[in-house]
């Protein structure tokens, strides 16, 4: 069964076409929706929640029509917005209990569910303190908890890793994977970074300027995008030359170098090259290729 079925969906704002005849489907599990800023990801989610009218086309969510059965859909799905949306002067517990009741849970059930999901997202004692004092990572967890509290069949996570440090990002991604597997809740998660979604998704949809660029199971993606980002204090050009000599595929990207991963020998090559040239390595990061570059690569290949 399709969790999402989108057919010829077009959304025009007065000055911009946010979605342009988009046709795509997604099954159960974790689906990544990837696109650069302004690609139309958030717009698509709002349409799927039945909150935004469309110009043309149709969309179903869990078999329900997004334009006529929005209320039923909103009963069955959870939504984590991309922007900040938490009142600072209430505690996580109070907020999540209240929002559980707004999803129709009776008072006692709302309390139990809120305690459960806050534990699952990893908020401990701090959940009794006002949200205003939380770190970005904790706030993202509260946003995730409120999306899960009514035990939805499907959740929409709009840029859940935004603003997180690398460790917070990893934890959030691990949590998303658990939601899709252990919790048995289907997930549609957006990001402007393809690399980070590779780790957690079963399926990835790439859109650009509201158009479908690609929709495929994860395995097809990985080869094309497995790369590492290398940043040195200075001497990037020398390093690029040296890596090329060592048989690696290198492309400069701003102040950084993108090195295609062939296998463990790629990491050795980076290490050796940096050591040989006596360069100060300040960043070595896996799979954080920006989606724009995938487009550039694909466009270059066509």
């Amino acid at each position: 069964m399709h969790i999402l079925a989108i057919e010829g969906l077009t959304k025009r704002f007065p000055t911009v076409t946010a979605l342009d005849r988009l046709t795509v489907t997604a099954g159960p599990g974790v689906t990544g929706l990837v696109g650069a800023n302004g690609a139309g990801k958030s717009t698509l989610i709002k349409i799927l929640l039945g909150l935004l009218p469309v110009s043309e086309g149709r969309a179903t969510v869990l078999g329900l029509d997004a334009f006529t059965q929005g209320a039923e859909i909103r009963r069955l799905v959870g939504y984590m917005p991309e922007h900040e949306c938490l009142p600072p002067d209430v505690s996580a517990t109070e907020l999540v209990v209240h929002l559980a009741r707004m999803s129709g849970l009776p008072r006692t059930a709302a309390r139990e569910r809120a305690a459960d999901v806050l534990r699952h997202v990893g908020l401990a004692e701090e959940r009794y303190r006002p949200i205003g004092g939380y770190s970005t990572g904790m706030k993202q967890r509260v946003k995730l908890a409120q999306a899960l509290v009514h035990d939805p069949k499907l959740i929409f996570l709009d840029e859940p890793t935004n603003g997180l440090d690398p460790r917070g990002r990893d934890e959030m991604l691990t949590l998303i994977r658990r939601i899709g597997t252990e919790f048995g809740i289907s997930v549609l998660v957006t990001s402007h970074l393809l690399g980070e979604l590779e780790r957690v998704c079963d399926h990835v949809i790439v859109i650009d300027a509201g158009r479908l660029l690609r929709s495929s199971a994860l395995t097809e993606f990985t080869q094309a995008t497995e790369s590492i980002t290398v940043e040195v204090e200075e001497g990037a050009d020398a390093l690029a030359g040296r890596l090329a000599e060592l048989g690696q595929t290198v492309s400069p990207l701003g102040r950084t170098l993108l090195v295609e991963v062939r296998g463990p020998e790629t990491y050795d090559a980076v290490r050796d090259a940096a050591a040989d040239l006596d360069l100060c390595l300040i960043r070595l990061e896996q799979g954080r290729q920006r989606i724009e570059d995938v487009f550039r690569e694909e466009a270059a290949r066509v």
Binding site: E94, G104, R113, G184
Partner: protein, 285 residues
């Protein structure tokens, strides 16, 4: 065995209540918020101090009835006499009902649930209306109970009391829709308080000034309309028209006929329209 097991994720298969329940829960939650219940102690100071001030004439009135067999004032004039306190309550508490959700963009968390924007706004207006009504009707009722217990000579003023309570309901709808509309347009709490109090002070200050200006230039009939600029005198005019009660104005008299009542309805409609427009815009973001 005393180990704690991680029982893993549990699904929820209990009841999911309908939208009537949800809206009621939101209304009750907002009403508690107006009085600072379930909030830190400092949130309770303002509403409860003002509610206590509202009881002050009640206590004096009951004491006077018991000791010197006289009423301090009439039931129908209570809201007009206490208007400054009621206006301060409206100004200080309206922002707590609408401002945080707008300012911190919490609305999407509601709208991605079965709650509709109309139910959300309806629950907020209902909560503020009930709060305003309690603020005025509870002291009136306590005063009336005191009146019955003291049992002054002559029949108890039951009709006037009931009329005053009915007018308290009308006043509450009028004030809360206007107060929430102003607070929703200025989602920073301080500004919200200031805007409501400014509108009240302007209406209160302008009414006697315009009255005097028109009266002294011989426009007596037109001058009567000046009082209706202030919402408390406006509702007092409706009350006087309906029940023939005293007109609680410094001088002159209200215009008669159905127009004051129509103005009340028009103001409520306008405030609701402003709220609807404000929230439609917020929902589209």
């Amino acid at each position: 065995m005393s180990e704690i097991y991680d029982i893993g994720y549990r699904h929820y298969d209990g009841p999911r209540l309908g939208r009537a329940h949800t809206t009621l829960a939101l209304g009750v939650h907002s009403l508690r918020g107006v009085f600072g219940l379930g909030r830190p102690a400092r949130s309770k100071i303002m509403p409860f101090s003002l509610a206590a001030v509202m009881m002050f004439p009640v206590v004096v009135s009951i004491a006077m009835m018991a000791l010197v067999q006289q009423r301090l004032g009439d039931y129908s004039g209570y809201a007009v006499v206490m208007q400054a306190v009621i206006a301060i309550f409206l100004a200080s508490q309206s922002p707590t009902v609408v401002a945080p959700d707008l300012r911190h963009r919490v609305l999407p968390l509601y709208l991605s649930r079965p709650v509709t924007i109309a139910e959300y706004v309806g629950a907020k207006v209902a909560a503020m209306t009930v709060a305003m009504f309690l603020l005025v009707a509870v002291p009136l009722t306590v005063m009336f109970i005191g009146d019955l217990l003291v049992d002054l000579p002559g029949p108890p003023p039951t009709g006037e009391y009931l009329g005053a309570v009915a007018m308290a309901a009308v006043l509450s709808v009028l004030l809360s829709t206007i107060g929430l509309a102003l607070a929703a347009l200025t989602p920073r709490r301080g500004l919200g308080v200031a805007s409501v109090i400014t509108v009240y002070l302007l209406s209160t200050g302008a009414a006697p000034m315009i009255f005097a200006a028109l009266y002294s230039t011989g426009h007596d009939a037109a001058a009567a309309w000046a009082w209706l600029i202030n919402p408390f005198w406006l509702v007092d005019a409706v009350q006087a028209g309906l029940f023939g009660t005293t007109q609680h104005i410094p001088e002159g008299s209200y215009p008669g006929g159905p127009v004051p009542a129509l103005i009340v309805l028009a103001l409520i409609a306008a405030a609701v329209a402003v709220l609807a427009a404000r929230y439609r815009k917020a929902a589209a973001q």
